[in-house]
C-alpha cells in the first residue's frame, strides 16, 4: 500500500476541480 504521487500538478489541479476533491501537494527533497 502506497501513495501514488502524481507529478503533473496542473493536471491534478484540473482533476481536483472536476472531482471536487482536495489536493495534497508535497514539496520534497527526499530520496526517491
Amino acid at each position: 500500500m502506497e501513495i501514488k504521487f502524481r507529478h503533473d500538478v496542473d493536471s491534478v489541479l484540473e482533476e481536483a476541480k472536476k472531482q471536487n476533491k482536495p489536493v495534497l501537494l508535497d514539496f520534497s527533497a527526499a530520496p526517491m
Partner: protein
C-alpha cells in the same frame, strides 16, 4: 512518514496526491514553489478543489504528529465551509485516535467550536473548557478555552 499505513490510507481517502521534487524537477519546484510560497522541504500543502491553499505543514514531523496535522488541515477545510458536523467529527477523531499528538489540544478546542456552531448552544463551549481541565491543561489551547468556563 509517508510509508506509514495510516498516513497512506488517510491521504488516499481524502486527497489527490501530487509531489514536486526539488532535485528531480527543479523547474517545477521553482514554478510551484513561487506560486504557493513553498521554499523549503518538506512542505506539505492541502489545497481545496479550486487549488487554494487551506493548510500547510513545514518541516519533518514524526508519523503520529504528521498524520494529526494532515487530519487537522482536512478538518479545518470542513470548518471553513460551514460543515460543522463533519468538522466536529474530524476534529474529535484526531484527539481520540492520536491523543499524544501535538495537534490534539487544538483539535479538542475546534471540536468544541464546531459543536457550538452546529447547535448554537454555548454548553458545547463550557463542556470543552471542562474537558481541558482533565487533559492538555498546560496547553495554550486550554488557556484559550478557559474563558468559556
Amino acid at each position: 512518514m509517508w510509508p506509514d499505513e495510516r498516513v497512506v490510507r488517510f491521504v488516499n481517502e481524502n486527497f489527490i496526491p501530487a509531489r514536486v521534487h526539488v532535485k528531480q524537477d527543479p523547474e517545477a519546484f521553482k514554478k510551484y514553489g513561487e506560486k504557493y510560497n513553498a521554499h523549503w522541504t518538506p512542505t506539505v500543502l492541502e489545497l481545496d478543489p479550486n487549488g487554494e491553499e487551506f493548510f500547510r505543514a513545514e518541516g519533518f514531523l514524526p508519523v503520529e504528529d504528521f498524520l494529526a496535522q494532515l487530519m487537522l488541515g482536512r478538518a479545518h477545510m470542513d470548518f471553513k465551509k460551514g460543515k460543522w458536523d463533519d468538522a466536529e467529527k474530524r476534529f474529535r477523531e484526531i484527539y481520540e485516535k492520536l491523543p499524544n499528538a501535538d495537534a490534539a489540544p487544538e483539535a479538542l478546542y475546534w471540536a468544541g467550536v464546531s459543536r457550538y456552531k452546529a447547535k448554537n448552544d454555548s454548553s458545547a463551549l463550557k463542556e470543552t473548557a471542562r474537558a481541558f481541565k482533565t487533559r492538555y491543561a498546560d496547553s495554550s489551547w486550554a488557556k484559550k478555552a478557559s474563558i468559556w468556563s
